[in-house]
Structures are given as structure tokens and as C-alpha cells.
């Protein structure tokens, strides 16, 4: 039998190594997927330890949770309530040390309310048109809220950018707060809100929403004023970053 040349043997070893590597990586991750029946105005509460949270909408009256769990995997016990679904990874894993990240992908009905928290990791919410959207990252992680049309929106992190692209409902409350990062709000031209924007570094760019009726306070560290009918209440605070408004 003709022996293999050395290059073929090397290639075979490399292929084996990569197959083994992929297998080990896959086994270190655990994917859990679950469906829950839900009404149209369901409320989803999620408290994650570390990892990303992505919430999207779909046309079905149910919630689908897909959790990709790093090893050592967290305990994961979603709880259905009268109002909706509660996932509390923090309580479910109290006392356990150094559990792995969990990356959530969640699909909910369009009219849902979502209340999301993670200690670290990005939060992305798309196309929610319910009563409440709350996204809170205790430490580092970007927050992206796009296509959001809710009566109450709260987004806050310590470090990371916050991006909001949506609409403000008349009489609604909207709060955005970051310690360090850029807060960007992209709004339709005809929106109306009362604004209190505070950035100690004096970088508040109102773009085309600026008008002479707006007041600058604290040597430009705060902008107060009404845009349009001024019926929504908007508070934006950034300790060390800038605040930008863009007209859609």
C-alpha cells in the first residue's frame, strides 16, 4: 500500500482538530426553546444575569423563548402569571457562583409590554406597540429600541449607547439615562413632547427640533423646552456622554 504523503496527514489532523473543536464548543452551549400561550396584551418580565436579550414581535398570540446558555448553564424556570410571563434568572440561580451567559431571543405579540433587565449585555427591542417598554442594563451594554410605539419607555445603562427610533404617544412618559455612552433619539417630524435633557459635558444636539423657545440652563448642561404640542414627557440624562436628536 502506498503511504500517505506528509501533507495529507497534516490536513487530516487539522480537519479532525476543527471537528473536535466545533463539537466541544457546541456541547458547551445549551439551546432551550419554549412556547407559551399569550393574549394580545401580554406582559413579559425578564431578569437576566449576563448575556444579550433580543425581543421581536410576530403575528401569533404566543410567546416563544429561545435561550442559548453557556456552560455552566443557568437554571431556567419561566413562570406564567395572569398578566403574562416572568423569567427571573437572578432568583432562579441565587447562591450559584459563576454561571454562564444566557442569550435570549424572544418573540412576542405586537401589543405586548416588556420589562427587561440584565446585569451585563446588549438589549434589543423591535416593533413593540404595547403599554410599556423598559430596558435596563445594570453595567455595560448597548440598548437599541427600534420601531417602538409605547406609552411608557424607560431605557438605562451605566456604560453603552442608547438608541431609540420610535414615536412618543401624547401623555406618555419617556426616560433615557446613561452613565457613559451616546444617547440618540430618532423621531418623526410631527412628534410633540416636553423635554428635560441633561448632559454635564454640554453636548446636547437638538438637530432640527431646536427652536428659540427652548431654554439652556447650567451653562448649556441642560436643555428644557416643548417640541410640538409638548404632551409627552421626555427626560434624557447622560453623565459623561452626548445626547443627539434626529428627525426621521
Amino acid at each position: 500500500m502506498k503511504p500517505h504523503p506528509p501533507t495529507s496527514r497534516t490536513n487530516a489532523a487539522l480537519v479532525s482538530f476543527f471537528v473536535l473543536l466545533i463539537t466541544v464548543t457546541a456541547s458547551a452551549q445549551q439551546k432551550v426553546s419554549r412556547h407559551f400561550p399569550a393574549g394580545k396584551n401580554v406582559r413579559l418580565e425578564l431578569k437576566n444575569l449576563t448575556g444579550t436579550i433580543t425581543v421581536e414581535t410576530w403575528q401569533r398570540d404566543e410567546i416563544k423563548i429561545t435561550a442559548l446558555m453557556e456552560s455552566p448553564a443557568v437554571h431556567f424556570n419561566p413562570r406564567q402569571t395572569d398578566a403574562g410571563l416572568v423569567i427571573d434568572i437572578v432568583s432562579d440561580n441565587r447562591g450559584r457562583e459563576n454561571v454562564g451567559d444566557v442569550n435570549f431571543k424572544i418573540q412576542v405579540p405586537v401589543r405586548s409590554s416588556v420589562d427587561l433587565e440584565t446585569r451585563q449585555g446588549q438589549i434589543t427591542v423591535s416593533n413593540i406597540q404595547g403599554e410599556l417598554v423598559r430596558a435596563h442594563v445594570w453595567t455595560s451594554g448597548d440598548i437599541t429600541l427600534s420601531g417602538v410605539n409605547a406609552a411608557r419607555v424607560f431605557a438605562s445603562n451605566t456604560t453603552g449607547n442608547i438608541f431609540f427610533d420610535g414615536e412618543f404617544a401624547s401623555g406618555g412618559t419617556y426616560e433615557f439615562k446613561s452613565g457613559q455612552g451616546t444617547i440618540t433619539l430618532r423621531l418623526p417630524a410631527d412628534c410633540g413632547f416636553h423635554l428635560v435633557a441633561t448632559a454635564p459635558v454640554k453636548r446636547i444636539s437638538m438637530g432640527q427640533f431646536w427652536h428659540e423657545g427652548m431654554k439652556l440652563m447650567g451653562e448649556g448642561r441642560r436643555v428644557i423646552g416643548d417640541v410640538g404640542d409638548g404632551r409627552a414627557s421626555v427626560t434624557v440624562t447622560n453623565y459623561q456622554g452626548q445626547i443627539n436628536f434626529f428627525r426621521r
Binding site: 402569571t81 432568583s91 445594570w138 451605566t158 452613565g179 454635564p200 440652563m217 453623565y239
Partner: protein, 231 residues
């Protein structure tokens, strides 16, 4: 069995964890005894309310610490000597402090009126003595109280921060390196905002924007420490 024994079994009866014989005994007693039936109704209402509202209330941030504080307070109170037991050779101050004061309403009202009169007189005399004009005195007083209240708030918040910081430091050893690094980096962002605001307030004590930022940053710091103290 007497009523007390039956009432001790009510909780298990409502939970359905008694034997059928015990259930029958209790049911028969509840038909005959109005007090126990009322106790059963009250307990059922409480249990139903708890079941209906399960999950609606957040747990206390640190239940264990709260119970520890309550226990400490109770123990401290228990150590205070009873005022009724005044030793025979006790001095006049000890007797005065351990005397039981019982005042009728007219006596109490007369005492309060007397105190108000004395304080008013002292205030008027003091104002004349130090020559304060009305508006100047008011504005000076407001400034002092405004600055004092801000300093008090900062001090109180700082005490809270110190308390939660100690708890976090105890737990920090168990965190992995990445978590420690993330926590420290984010805490430094909040500290920078606090220091910046304090610097502004030292330059201009009436800077409302800096005061707001300082309050917000201190609250954020307390919340972040609380959250991570449970890790």
C-alpha cells in the same frame, strides 16, 4: 379539644393537609363555634389574597439583613432596665429619668403652650440682641437650611453607599475576574459623575443642575451596589 387547639389546626385545614377525620371534627366545631368560624374566615381571606397576588410584590432587597436589624433592635430594647425597678439607693437623676410620666390632656396642653411661649420670647430677644432685620434674617436662614439639607442628604446617601459597599466588598472575592472588572469600571463612571458634580457645587453651591446630577448619580450608585451585593 378546646378552641385554641382547633384554631392551631386551621392553617392545615385550609391547606387541605389534615386527615378526613380531623377535617370532620373541625367542620363540626366550626358550625357550633362562632369565634372559630370567624378565625377560619379571616385566615382564608388572607391565604386567598396571598394566592391571588403571588408574584406581584418584589422581595425585600435583603430580607436577612432586615431581620438581623430587627433582632438587634429588639435585643437592645430588652437590655434596657425596667423603669419600675428603681433601686432604693438610686440618685435623683436616676429616679427622674425612670419615673413614669402620666399627664392629663389639660396638663399636656399647658406644657406645650408654655414651651411655645418660652421659645417665642427667646427668639424675639435673640433677634433684637443680634440686630437682624426681617428679610436679612430670613434669607440667611434659608441659605443655611438649604445648604444644610443638601449636606444632610449627601451625608445620608454616603452612609447608605458605605453600608452597601461593605456588603459588596464581602462578596466580591467570589466573583470572577471579568465581573469584578466590569463592576469596577462602571462604578468609576458613576464616581466620576459624582465627583464632577461635587466640584461644581463647591464652586457654586446653588447650581441646580449639578445638584440634580449628584442626587441621580448617588441613587444610581446605591441601586447598583444593592444589586451587586446579592451576587
Amino acid at each position: 379539644m378546646n378552641c385554641e387547639s382547633y384554631q392551631n389546626l386551621l392553617s392545615d385545614f385550609i391547606d387541605g393537609s389534615l386527615t378526613p377525620q380531623d377535617c370532620k371534627k373541625i367542620e363540626a366545631h366550626l358550625v357550633a363555634c362562632g369565634d372559630c368560624a370567624e378565625a377560619r374566615n379571616d385566615l382564608s381571606a388572607i391565604v386567598d389574597f396571598c394566592r391571588e397576588h403571588r408574584g406581584e410584590y418584589d422581595p425585600l432587597p435583603n430580607e436577612q439583613a432586615m431581620w438581623l436589624r430587627i433582632t438587634n433592635i429588639l435585643e437592645t430594647e430588652a437590655r434596657v432596665p425596667s423603669r419600675a425597678n428603681i433601686p432604693a439607693g438610686a440618685g435623683w437623676w436616676f429616679r427622674l429619668m425612670n419615673r413614669s410620666w402620666q399627664l392629663s390632656f389639660p396638663k399636656l396642653a399647658a406644657s406645650v403652650a408654655g414651651i411655645i411661649l418660652v421659645v417665642s420670647l427667646v427668639t424675639v430677644v435673640g433677634m433684637k440682641q443680634f440686630g437682624f432685620s426681617g428679610s436679612g434674617f430670613q434669607s440667611a436662614g434659608l441659605t443655611i437650611s438649604s445648604n444644610a439639607s443638601m449636606k444632610d442628604r449627601i451625608r445620608q446617601q454616603q452612609q447608605l453607599i458605605d453600608y452597601w459597599n461593605q456588603r459588596v466588598e464581602l462578596n466580591k472575592m467570589r466573583w470572577n475576574a471579568q465581573m469584578r472588572e466590569t463592576f469596577d469600571r462602571n462604578m468609576s463612571v458613576i464616581d466620576a459623575a459624582m465627583n464632577d458634580s461635587l466640584r461644581h457645587l463647591n464652586e457654586n453651591p446653588h447650581d441646580g443642575v449639578s445638584e440634580d446630577i449628584l442626587n441621580a448619580a448617588m441613587n444610581d450608585k446605591v441601586e447598583l451596589l444593592k444589586e451587586f451585593s446579592e451576587l
